[in-house]
Symmetry: C2
Subunit: 280 residues, 2 copies
């Protein structure tokens, strides 16, 4: 595995691979890799000839009171895990390279970012779409793989790539979970045992809603009540939102008649967790 820092090296790699007719599979991450990230590498390998993973904790997608400074980082461990999993190139840019002096260009996706996490994290999705557009422009991959754990982000990036006519196929990969159901996340490292118990109600609420839909319940109000009842059992969990939306356009639904998604965001001890699940 080769480690790349500079943009010009990534652009050159892109040109060289294009000339060789090789398909680039891209896995953008913020590092502190876990099995969820590594499962994206497996998928990228299935769809491409060369896998490039980026590790970049992007400052512009964190709010002023969020955890940019304390976001978990471990470059050495990440390099080892990426190499073991068969990543060909690990791209680790500096902030000053991704945001050149005097930079003032933003990429914005409008409707899809208005609901769910959007109002609670102003500027977050603009940070995400801007950085992903930069990563895509410099590398020009044919395939890019994202986890469904950040489901709204996945839909926003799909829309951006389509709207900007990028010749990139966006692949979403189902969330990996620990045995107790907790969605794998770099931020889980923040949790102590007691907090983890509280957070588990999130995945349990999602599972309960999914099972109710499987059994035939289509009324969103009833499904939301069911989910909220479960979340209410967690005394220290502060719900930000529980919503059931169209799986593609993320608009709220009243009745489930087409592919839908249940999404939850909640705090435990000022730490924010999100999770979601498919409803079909």
């Amino acid at each position: 595995m080769k480690i790349i820092h500079s943009i010009s090296e990534i652009q050159q790699l892109s040109r060289d691979l294009a000339q060789e007719g090789k398909r680039i599979g891209f896995v953008p991450t913020m590092g502190f890799l876990h099995e969820g990230h590594l499962s994206l590498v497996n998928v990228a390998k299935q769809h491409s000839d060369v896998v490039v993973m980026s590790i970049f904790v992007n400052p512009t997608q964190f709010g002023p009171n969020e955890d940019y400074d304390s976001y978990p980082r471990d470059a050495e461990r990440d390099q080892k895990l990426a190499a073991e999993r068969g990543v060909d190139y690990l791209w680790m840019p500096e902030v000053s390279q991704m945001y050149p002096k005097g930079e003032q260009t933003k990429v914005v996706v409008t409707e899809l970012t208005r609901g769910l996490c959007g109002p609670f994290r102003p500027g977050h999705f603009m940070g995400v779409t801007t950085i992903v557009a930069k990563l895509f422009s410099a590398l020009q991959p044919q395939i890019a793989v994202f986890g469904e754990k950040d489901y709204q982000q996945l839909q926003v990036i799909r829309r951006m790539a389509k709207d900007l006519l990028m010749p990139i196929e966006i692949i979403g990969v189902p969330t990996l979970r620990d045995e107790d159901g907790l969605a794998k996340s770099s931020r889980n490292v923040y949790l102590n045992e007691e907090e983890r118990k509280q957070v588990l109600y999130i995945s349990q609420a999602i599972k309960a809603v999914q099972q109710a839909v499987k059994k035939g319940e289509k009324q969103v109000q009833k499904l939301l009540s069911l989910g909220k009842d479960i979340l209410a059992q967690a005394p220290d969990l502060q719900l930000e939102y529980l919503e059931i939306v169209d799986a593609e356009n993320l608009q709220k639904l009243e009745v489930i008649q087409r592919p839908a998604r249940v999404l939850i965001a909640a705090y435990v001890n000022h730490k924010r967790f999100i999770d979601n699940g498919a409803l079909t």
Copy 2:
């Protein structure tokens, strides 16, 4: 010369040329070609192996009271002129292809679009940067050539390409002029003889400011007065702005101490004209 309509064909062409190691030189236009556009083709040919010209009258960069519907169009004549000048591929997309159903992604450059034409044409530059980002993403050229006639646009696009880490060299080409000094523009077709006389004061004011700078005048207030005096001689010319700014960041100057630019926008009979010139 091959004519291409579909995005997928352009994306395929881009892949094929990349695999052959050919450099793509791109000339984006809104058509109704004149010698100014064709001079861009000459420059593109010098810097690339294959020249692609696009013709697309982009609706999102026209304001509601602007001339989108009446903008001059002549596809047949454009095709002939492009072929004669040696364009290899002429890309003529439809609006529905550039703006897919449900599209909601915008590319925004902030500071550089706040002055000059920005406040007078709200949304114009967002329309420009969004469409150019789409054209660049689909074609992935190595070189893109723009006229200096739209100087603010040129600087905005340079900034966008740099900020988004696009591996594209942006080349600006000096404005071509008719013998009387009028900057070549597709919109000149709107002018009758009397109006043309009025519009000529714009290029004359620019030339006078340039000459004063050459003779040693560095005070912007004096240079602006000189320009305004000339424009005041055109009875039917309505000045929108006359400004002298830094040539790169477009910030207003008080004294000319580094590369600068004089820019004018004015109306004659409700028709808007812009022009500019270098001050060094």
